[in-house]
Amino acid sequence: MANVLDLRRRIRSVKNTRQITKAMKMVSAARLRRAQERALLARPYAQMISSVLESLVRRTDIYNGDSGSLMHPLLVEREEKNVLVVVIAGDKGFAGAFNSNITKAAQSFINDRSALGQNIDIEPVGRKARDLVAKKYPAAVYEKKEEHYDNDLATHFEVIRHRAAPIEVTGDHASLLVKVDIDAVSEMAHSIIERYTRAEIDAVYLVYNEFKSVISQRVVVEKLLPIRKLGSHEITVAEEMSEEQKEAAAHAAATSGVSIMEPEESAIESEAKNFGTADVDYIFDQPPSRIFRHLLPKYVTTQIFHALLESVASEHAARMTAMDAATNNAGDMIDAYTLQMNRVRQAAITKEIIEIVSGAAAL
């Protein structure tokens, strides 16, 4: 049996750990509040983009009058042969099952799809997502082909994809989550749109952790392209939190001063739903079809932006919960060790007394 000194040392070490996890929990709580705020502030813009789009769809023909073809390449539906899946995980660990839940969902999606014989591209966002797929699957190879015409007066560029394996990794957005910046997201969205337009991919799915409140989150697989129904999230797979997880999250939130309620809709937000939808005849400064064309890429960008902000909030919430659980466990461990230490000490004292008493009796 360990002696008193050993146990005392062990208790001190656990106490230190508890202090660290407690600090990490408070930091995560502060970050979570900020992330929640940010997601909230970003809502009016996203809402307005989708309401004006909806209103335009009602006013314009999305089919071309003469040929009957769709007006925009992002609306075109093709048979899903090549599928892009954007996996949004976190940058850091210590967040409980956050990263593994997402990678698990992504992996099962990839397995399902490759069983159907589809080619899959994976676009990882966040270091944890990248680390997982980069080891497993090869990177996609692109070739930029240049052709010169008319004595080099005109040049034609073409990007050609050489697919070597059924599952490949495209793009690398490891640092996107450090500061979720709309310009960087826009760049990523445009690269995806370009690939979709030149029919390199036939569908785009997002795998991320949706965040409504601390106790209401789920891992979802959402279809991003082709755009079928505007303003609605087309969720194909969702994994809800268990009651146990909810309880743990609620406890963590209560002890660090984070509200577990879903934030209420602000006045601007409810007004945002009416952006561009008033029941009047608008004067269109540019033809509606042109506005429509320019809006669709912005719509895709805001969808990804929204997913990223929610994922960041979820990551902090998961870390806060995990660190709260760690702090509690450390407390339990300290209690157990203290009890054991007291017992050992008591046993030593008892033993000494017995020795003295029996020594006295022998006299």
């Binding site: 307005m48 983009i49 601007i268 540019q286």
Partner: protein, 144 residues
């Protein structure tokens, strides 16, 4: 609708960016940089939907006095009593970094030269040039 005398005759003006609502105020008149040139909206303007180019949004009168914002790319909805501006980029003219704008200008020129026969690339280069030029003009107070 303009004859509605019960109202103060002030437009509600909102400037919304992907990050946040930058401005929520009122004005007597708003100048807007539409894709096809500047337009000005007064109280009671007919409903209008326009694509936003790059340039300055200027508010005249209203609760917080005259104000200027540099904006680029987005949409604007004008209703008789409300103007809502959706802008991809929006900032105060004082926040513009002229050096960065000049770098962008140089980058746009490079893109233009490398565009080859791709029409879209030329459009992109033009868009960057326009935004950078308007940014510099706005920062120097020379925006028209």
């Amino acid at each position: 609708m303009a004859e509605n005398t019960s109202n103060s005759g002030l437009l509600t003006v909102r400037l919304v960016t992907p990050d946040r609502v930058l401005l929520d105020s009122t004005a007597e008149a708003v100048e807007l940089p539409s894709m096809s040139g500047y337009l000005e909206a007064l109280y009671g303007h007919a409903p209008l939907l326009a694509e936003l180019g790059a340039g300055e949004v200027r508010l005249h009168g209203g609760a917080s006095g005259d104000q200027k914002f540099f904006v680029a790319w987005g949409f604007v909805e004008v209703l008789p009593e409300r103007v809502t501006i959706l802008a991809e980029t929006a900032m105060h003219p004082e926040e513009i970094k002229v050096d960065e704008a000049r770098e962008e200008l140089a980058k746009a020129e490079r893109l233009w030269n490398e565009a080859g026969d791709d029409g879209q690339k030329y459009d992109e280069a033009n868009a960057i040039t326009r935004q950078a030029e308007e940014m510099i003009a706005s920062a120097e107070g020379k925006s028209h």
